[in-house]
Symmetry: C2
Subunit: 306 residues, 2 copies
Amino acid sequence: MKLKYAVIGAGAIGGYYGGRLAHSGNEVHFLFHSEYDHVKKNGLRVDSVVGDFLVQPINAYSATADMPKCDVVIVALKSTQNHLLPDMLRPILHDGTVVVLIQNGLGLEEELAQQFPNLTIAGGMAFICSSRVGVGHISHQDYGPLTVGFYQHPKQEVLLQMKADFENAQVPFNIAEDLNVARWKKLVWNIPYNGLTVALNTSTDVIMRTSSSRQLVTDMMEEVLAGAEVCGAKIDHSFIDDMLSMTDKMTPYSPSMKLDFDNKRQMEIRAIYSNPIRIAKASGFYMRKVEMLEQQLLFIQERMRG
Amino acid sequence: MKLKYAVIGAGAIGGYYGGRLAHSGNEVHFLFHSEYDHVKKNGLRVDSVVGDFLVQPINAYSATADMPKCDVVIVALKSTQNHLLPDMLRPILHDGTVVVLIQNGLGLEEELAQQFPNLTIAGGMAFICSSRVGVGHISHQDYGPLTVGFYQHPKQEVLLQMKADFENAQVPFNIAEDLNVARWKKLVWNIPYNGLTVALNTSTDVIMRTSSSRQLVTDMMEEVLAGAEVCGAKIDHSFIDDMLSMTDKMTPYSPSMKLDFDNKRQMEIRAIYSNPIRIAKASGFYMRKVEMLEQQLLFIQERMRG
């Protein structure tokens, strides 16, 4: 089976994965916005720790209406853009299309499923350090594994072919048996560090070596585990220690939300905070410290605008 | 009965109240630190919305060892200095002395009582806007009532005489029947606004007109009410609405902790946050958002030092 890929949101994440797939011989169609003219002419440049490459010629588009229908649609937009997604997707879906949301947070597949009840939807989690360093130019600094699991109407044979394609393209690929568990596990890290680096205007290493903030991180992780459990995602308590010691070993790091804050871009508060808080509350657990962080981030976002 | 007063910590609060008492003819002995030489020579100057005055000559001292034993000792130090209090107090106490802690927070009378189990200890809450604007120079901008209640070994006749002396000195004076309730009531305002103006680096009016922070203030007030209740201080829920609408009507205001933060002084985290959190937790209620604010303030304090 030969899969035809689309990449919606060809930035640091989508551009890297899509670029890898195209570079290793897959048919990949990329949607660009402001970068379209540059990329159409010069190609997509990826500097990567596992080898640099240029995607040229490239199937670049400025609107999905011009793209062919695809078998796999990789959505790597920031989740703050997801209200645009239904209209963007319609032209490129056929009856068997698999849409993979490689995005942070919780509840995004559910929102898409409300618009497309019969669509095969999967969620993807990228464990990667990459960034857009110029127009049509991505820098991949570290890691790279992608984890994908189905949200509804699974198509196992497509997922297995994706795994083969990604691995052939030098991207480690894991299949998540339970997307809900995988999403909540990612939140155990994302919820404390994304927001606290913004609210305390600092980096992960300073948070970890200050006892009060280190304890606060732990408290929030405990809340996320309790929230996950009432939502049917049981995560072993030792996972907290794993996350803490992983972060202890990391080089000082600014999570994506901190980069958004520093660059005065909109933060992904809804997907990473509001949705998990609401979903856990509906199932009976109130993540109070997590909610306080959400409230502070909403305050900061509002002041940033004003 | 003629009372002999001592004022320990003759700053914005102690200097104002002690100054009023001296100006209206009471015997008041003031302890100064860095301001001693200036005040000894030039007196204590108070600019006040209810009338300016100068205390000159003044009973000024640079150590309590030089002071006479007094009937009422007004302690208006910042609570971060309370570890110095036992040694400072000893020279000026007689068997009948009443010590009044005009300080923010909770648990300070208890700490003092551990050192002086037989001492008459009261707590005082000042509802006042005043500040030190220069050496030996206090500016009193608004309000002024003082509320005092006993913590242990009450001496009602002294309290009634104090009330008469303060009222004669143009200071409205309320007697708190239950100090615990009065302390917790003050915390309903102090806990959200002191810390949040620091953590969000803003002022009360901005907090009030931003929906997320306004909700957070309300959430924290609810926690304080629940904490108070398990500690035997039942406060009516309508008090929250009273505090919110009072703050809505206030001119933009920087609470004392925000002033400490702006001037890189130590913040009263222990008295206003750590003690209430610990005391409520011991009685069975965990103020989670309040604790998160404490953790953030400890982080900020630690970074300020570093």
